[in-house]
């Protein structure tokens, strides 16, 4: 049982108990004691570190706010299922006249939490078994495993171990071992990826999150059908990527799916080639801004851009490292991966891309089901633009950039979007591609998309 006593520094402060109207910020108090009830596995040191801030509270309002904050932090540890707060005047030895005693009633999570799900996707049904062991060693460590077995004999698993470290930057270390299979019929290949990912995440400022990662991945690329393009076939076989990555994330949006205000900046830089036979330097930037113009009317502007460059002639870049563009979740009005170099109907990808989108979201016409089910829906009109092509560094830059600017793709349209929980969104759009190139696969008409990340 973690009981913490405040240091004995009494500051007798006269306050008027006769006052009828109580200003909470006027009630000067001192937190004498904090109890945390219901601990069994969780170690005292992390609890102390978490609740310590509460001792700084000088008046009653601060105590309440601070207690809420501490509660949020305790929840953030991922060790407890529900947390209750009780505030009482302190009693017993060492109690001060204006002293308070704050008690957190917590219930620890079970040692093992598991679940079984069936999933349908990618033309294949699969069974997923998941297991979490929260708070493994009493300091918020977490072991998470997930295994799924598909009808086509594909198996995927992830085992990840997360350990939060102490410190003001809320650093977290995660190690993940994974195997995943994916099929890309638009490019004519399938891929099995097995690897190891070590992630170190920390905040450099309250809203700025950094992730430093090392990833070692063994990728097995093989042709999906016999009719796959020869350019795809040439890239089949095993390859080993060893890369370091830095992700910078600044997310001030009010919610991840269909936000109404705030902006997002995400910058990913990846350097592959520290061992392995794959080498490149890859930059990817995503910017998003949301503005509420009128009540319920949101303007969203998104810009994405990426650039990949080889670092050595001895190291390869596989088709699975390239950028692709097009599809209901990216450049609408085109088939998935339908923009850029194609051969025999297979998208080959390219080393640079940019894509931008301007969306105007409004509620459904006449607002049916307002305040309930109807709030999950939005209508939107949009205009998307982008380009995908190979840009070479060196002397060819001017020519390749010129060609690049000439071949911008553009599409516009409108549609309905539905929010699925806090996770995903579904879109049904009518799209009209305006500018496209001969090798592209434009897809005018109705397009349907479901996913997490949308342009």
């Amino acid at each position: 049982m973690g009981t913490v006593h405040a240091k004995d520094k009494r500051e007798p402060y006269p306050h008027d108990t006769e006052q009828q109207q109580i200003h909470l910020d006027g009630v000067k108090v001192r937190v004498d004691k904090i109890n945390v009830d219901g601990l069994s596995r969780t170690k005292d040191d992390i609890i102390i570190a978490t609740v310590k801030d509460l001792f700084q509270a000088k008046d009653f309002q601060e105590v309440i706010l601070c207690a809420q904050k501490v509660r949020g932090k305790l929840e953030g540890l991922g060790c407890f299922r529900n947390i209750g707060i009780f505030i009482d005047t302190s009693s017993g030895p060492g109690a001060t006249p204006e002293g308070l005693e704050v008690t957190f009633h917590v219930r620890e999570l079970k040692r093992i939490v598991g679940g079984v799900n069936t999933l349908v996707g990618n033309n294949e049904g699969s069974l997923a078994v998941g297991m979490r062991m929260p708070n493994l060693f009493g300091r918020g460590e977490k072991l998470h495993t997930e295994y799924s077995y598909g009808a086509k004999k594909t198996s995927a698993f992830t085992v990840s171990y997360t350990k939060p470290l102490r410190g003001s930057l809320s650093p977290i270390i995660t190690g993940t071992v994974f195997q995943a299979g994916s099929e890309w019929p638009w490019s004519g290949y399938k891929q099995i990826e097995r690897g190891l990912l070590i992630d170190f995440g920390f905040n450099s400022a309250p809203w700025i999150r950094h992730n430093l990662q090392w990833e070692g991945a063994w990728r097995d690329v093989s042709c999906l059908t016999r009719s796959a393009a020869f350019q795809v076939r040439e890239q089949t076989g095993p390859s080993l990527k060893s890369s370091v990555r830095h992700i910078l994330l600044l997310d001030r949006r009010d919610t991840a799916i269909l936000p109404s205000s705030g902006s997002l900046v995400k910058l990913t830089q990846e350097l592959a080639g520290l061992g392995g036979d794959v080498g490149f330097f890859k930059n990817d930037l995503c910017l998003q801004g949301n503005w509420t113009l009128l009540p319920d009317m949101v303007l969203q502007a998104t810009l994405q851009a990426g650039f990949l460059t080889r670092i050595s002639n001895n190291l390869n870049v596989s088709i699975c490292d390239q950028f692709f563009l097009g599809g209901p979740m990216s450049l609408r009005g085109f088939n998935t991966r339908g923009v850029g170099p194609h051969k025999d109907g297979n998208a080959l990808g390219a080393s640079a891309y940019w894509a931008g989108g301007l969306h105007l979201f409004t509620p459904l016409p006449f607002n049916p089901g307002k305040g309930g089910f109807g709030d999950l829906f939005r209508t939107h009109i949009f205009i998307n633009a982008g380009n995908l092509g190979n840009v070479y560094l060196g002397q060819e830059i001017p020519t390749s950039l010129k060609a690049y600017t000439k071949t911008t793709r553009l599409s516009y349209g409108m549609g309905v979007t539905l929010r699925l929980g806090q996770m995903a969104r579904v879109e049904l759009n009518y799209c009209i591609p305006v500018l496209f190139q001969r090798e592209d696969q434009p897809n005018p008409g109705v397009q349907y998309g479901i996913g997490i990340h949308f342009l």
């Binding site: 299922r81 999570l109 079970k110 040692r111 093992i112 939490v113 598991g114 679940g115 079984v116 799900n117 998941g130 979490r132 929980g421 806090q422 996770m423």
Partner: protein, 321 residues
Amino acid sequence: MNRPMEINIWGGDWGLPSVDIYCLEVMAYAKFSGVPLQTCVTNNPFWTPNGRLPVFKHGKQVLSSLPEISAYLKQKNFSADFGLTQKQCADAAAYTQLLKEKLHLALQYVWWLDTKNYTELIRPWYAKALPFPYNYYYPGKYEQEAKKHLEALYDQDDDPLTIESSVYGEAEKCLTVLSVRLGDQEFFFGSHPTSLDATVYAFLAPLLKVPFPSPALQNYLKACTNLVKFVVRITQRYFPYAIQEYEAKKSAESGAQGKSDPESDFPNRRRYQIVAGIFATAAMTGYALSTGLVQMSTKDEVSENSADYKDLFQAAENTED
């Protein structure tokens, strides 16, 4: 020769002395070499040295494959190949490999992997022939072996139709080659049967005689008339009893067809009833025991470890976050 030579085999049916390729091969070879061999239908590969029939026994010698057996018989001065020249021996070796490479997999396919043949004919036949409880084990095991065989040779293809047409295509080529080579001769090397004739007979006779529900490859063989005559010739000359037995069985069946026998509708009915009863009882007892045990002793463990409904929901919620 004080003790008789003996061979344990799979039984025959449909006018075949045995339904198994390797049993037929050894039996035909023994006949061709003039070895007095006692056949013993065991229909049970469980007690054999390497889990397969045939098993050849002579005194303390226990052998199970034709190369071993023919080498042993050669020591005893029995051989079907004494009259062959070196070149003919070489040809025999080449054609034997041709059969193994092209036709063996196709036969496995027809036998175990063609779903219609397997479920309607082969599995019921083996289930009936094998003694209890092996009849629950071996048909499935053989199917798995055939599947493994196919997967190992066609590891890149995943379209079953492509695989099937490729397997049958190879087999048809092989049948054509055999038919050309045999020509108008009585046997492959003239008027006397040899080890090659034994092997060809063993591969072709079941394919020809077994009434497969899905007869694609069989029809191809039937079109090669000289091969059909070859099989019929050997069966009539060396295994007349198999045909007689089959004829007798058929006429008995057609006589008995008028009165429908409930037992024949559902063979081994009583046995299945008993097995089902035992299984149900065991399952129920097991269930009762397991739930009882859980409640009694390891209560704490269970409440910590088992994922109850709340936990499941919580897991689902947490993954959504």
